[in-house]
Amino acid sequence: MQINDDKVNGILVLQVIGRIDVSNAKSLKIKVQNLIGHGEVNFLITMDRVDYIDSSGLGILVACLKAANAAGGTVKIAGLKEYHKQVFQTMRLDRVFQLYDESTQALA
């Protein structure tokens, strides 16, 4: 998994590339925690280049949301593939995260 970060309109945008699974999901949480430690609290995680996500990946996204929320911010998610979004929906995580089709919508 590769994570690129950039700040846009005061929001820390994390572009995740590759797989978010049981073998590597923790690295995303560590990245977010480090950024929170540096004062960032509002995140947009873009998922359009994510090939695969499993329950560990979902759990880590929840952990990131909890960490950001505890710091006074939030995590938005954009660009989920249709079938990844289905997993969010069946797990009711579409009621937890603000989901956007496009990053531009999330940054507006």
Binding site: D21, I60, A63, L65, K66, N69, Y83, H84, V87
Partner: protein, 125 residues
């Protein structure tokens, strides 16, 4: 192997994703729950690809699931208050994902061997 089946057009991209996902979740559950994280447990996997369906069996010889528990797992994974961010569960979704995204799921335990059987209807490309 699953990716290759997708590349060859036997499975669609979405079908390949859900097969890989559910197989992975089942194996992880065996490691964590049937074998309690022990590194020496055997897990047997068989995949049958039919014209209209894929059937996957994941077998172990560890601790079985409690009887009649599948529906409970499906329900419990989504029983949370979405507004209570601090209380959101970070784990416990694996079996619920399988139950929601496979067309049929059965679990049987016999003579010390446990099998989770998952079936997905496929439509080609």
């Amino acid at each position: 192997m699953i990716k290759q089946l997708s590349t060859e057009g036997i499975l669609g991209e979405k079908e390949a994703y859900f097969i890989e996902l559910c197989l992975s979740e089942a194996v992880i559950n065996c490691i964590r729950h049937a074998y309690h994280g022990r590194p020496d447990g055997n897990i047997d996997i068989s995949i049958l690809i039919g014209v209209n369906h894929v059937t996957i069996d994941v077998g172990d010889k560890g601790t079985p699931l409690p009887p009649n528990s599948l529906d409970n797992y499906k329900r419990q994974a989504v029983e949370f208050d979405a507004a209570d961010v601090a209380g959101l569960p970070e784990t416990g979704r694996g079996l619920a994902i399988i139950l929601n995204h496979m067309d049929s799921v059965a679990y049987f335990s016999e003579s010390g061997r446990n099998t989770l059987r998952m079936m997905l209807n496929i439509g080609g490309k």
